[in-house]
Amino acid sequence: MNNLEVIENLKNLLVEYTSNSKDQIENNLTMIFQSFENKSLKEDIDNYAEFVLLGASLFELKAKRLLPQEDEVEWLDEVELIKDKDLAFARLLQFKAFTEVGIAMAIKVKQTEQEIPAFKYYQTNSLTIKPEIQYKLELSKFQETAVEVFSRYKTIQGFSHIDKELPDLQVAIDDLLQIVDKRLSTTFGELVSSVNSSQEAVAFFLALLEAVRWGFIKAEQTNIDKEIIIEKNYE
């Protein structure tokens, strides 16, 4: 028996059991299968599986109500019993909806991309409305400023480091890990005792922070005046 026959048989069974019903559940069930019948089963088996799932849930509810019960069970209690199932079903539908929407959006984007905007190799500022107040910088003045800056920056205090070759942070991290591997425990003071410049010390400190962040080592400083104790992280 193929899938279509299974669904057809299930449909017939459910309709047979519900065709003479009067209450809300049965009405719902009949309504579902009326729309079910209007479909061609050959169109899309997945869509009908959803109908069957919904129908089966209602049928289960009806079956429960038909069973003899010791205590009278309220309709609202019954609803409460299948709340989780309803929620799961609602989420399934929501998820399926967004899947379909995502695919539809992809198709739309593909269509839009058939029209290619003119491509430029440079970027002009977006031609939106200019602000009312603009700072004017004359070309001649700009050139003067540029020449001055480029000729003087090396002599200006604070710019003297610009031409210096900076230490490589990755090398510092490797060095740090190598030292910690050997000594197992060390201090930041020991680490920087052999460096030749303050830049190298800074690189070691940055390396220390990176290595701690990645969990390779542990670092602890109990007080601002105390040494930073560095240990290999075995966790």
Binding site: R91, F98, E100, G102, E115, I116, T124, S126, T128, I129
Partner: protein, 174 residues
Amino acid sequence: MNNKKVISAVLLVSDGAIDHEYFMNLLQIEHNELIEILKEINTDLENVGIGFYIKFDNSKSDIVTKAEISELLSDVKPPPILKGLSTPALETLAIIAYEQPVTKLKISEIRGVESESSIKTLESRGLIEKGGELDVPGNPILYTTTDLFLTKLDVSSIGNLPTIGNYFGNSEEE
């Protein structure tokens, strides 16, 4: 005539779509006048059989190639923005588009699975961005779609996205 020259030239050299307000201020013309000029330029281009036209809506315009020759432009056109995107990433994009601003947790809740990698992929493609933080403990990041997403979907604003029901208009409803 001069206005046609200026508008077509600006659109040719500008990077991206131009706000109509820019043209209206530059040329001291009304909006409906501008639209008429854009239509005239398109008619001129059509008459001489040129492979591009001015695509415009009520707020902006840009020069684009004609869709019917897109197959022949495959060697020169930029790669599709959705190239290689998986169905989960498309789902995530749809959720962000319709639920924005939305947290990663909410996205994962709707999808029923972790959505971190899909979000990163969409962010790297420029389709979504961080649009703030939710004012609750932990301050989770809120994600929104970008202007590029709107351009690619050919809608002018989030408010103009089709309602979700429209996507199912032909299949489920009797």
